[in-house]
Symmetry: D3
Subunit: 63 residues, 6 copies
């Protein structure tokens, strides 16, 4: 029953999501003995404008 | 002051959200004695591509 | 696959959690047509000292 | 390493997000001694239809 | 109705939480025009063993 | 800047957490090109009594 949430700025391709979900689910099965069918992985993609590091929005850092 | 977050893949109609929020708020008042005005319910709808079960994205399962 | 998180200050009895989980899962089946076996409900109980409303910790309000 | 998540209904302007992220990061440095570079702030903006208070969706309240 | 969640490793004193909640609630009122009574702030304190940066648990970094 | 949250019922050993954090951080570097130093992994362990699947608390299932 693990629920894995991956929150990030920007977006991932469908293929990146597919591989990441597969690997993380595999990691949790091998190391934590969680049967695959119980593992949920959710991707939360936020615009750069909605994420700050060190008090600065990510879309400023590009500047 | 309960904050209820409902995270799911796909989307709900406005009417479904209205009824779900109403019932959950009522459940928390009856069973946990939380006054209705303090209960927040937030719906987080994710695209099927952003949700995996058993290491497989939900939009693959249709295939 | 809905994941329902109920975050609150204070704690609930085991029996309250049992009934709330049962009702919410039922609500999501009836209204959103989500099969029960896919619904996860997680309770996150925080100490009153870790929750503020209107800028005031909940354990102050008692004073 | 604090991760601050600000979940709200409606949306903020880029400038509001910039100032809020700056102030919160500063607050955590001054009061909790967390170096700025470790603090992440994420804004999660939900449509009014996805948020309920007291069992009522926020877009009903306008009515 | 903003819900602010502050997730961090280690713990804060009651007084730090009190001041942080007060300042953040004030920030959201001044900048985002959110009435104070609607703002919830929740602190989620995790043991160092439950938090990793750069793939390393925080309690290793001390070593 | 990805923030990965792993929410589960029960608990993991320190060694399981160490390996899981390492592998997930590595997965995000290889597949999503996220530099390791920006990735946070947080483990949220909940008692079995605080988690329900199919409307049933996990500590009932053992019965």
């Amino acid at each position: 029953m693990p629920v894995v949430t991956i929150k990030l700025a920007g977006s991932l391709s469908r293929d990146q999501k597919r591989k990441i979900a597969e690997e993380i689910t595999d990691t949790l099965e091998r190391i934590a003995l969680k049967p695959k069918r119980y593992t949920y992985v959710a991707f939360e993609e936020l615009p750069d404008e909605n994420w700050a590091i060190a008090g600065q929005l990510l879309d400023e850092e590009e500047g």
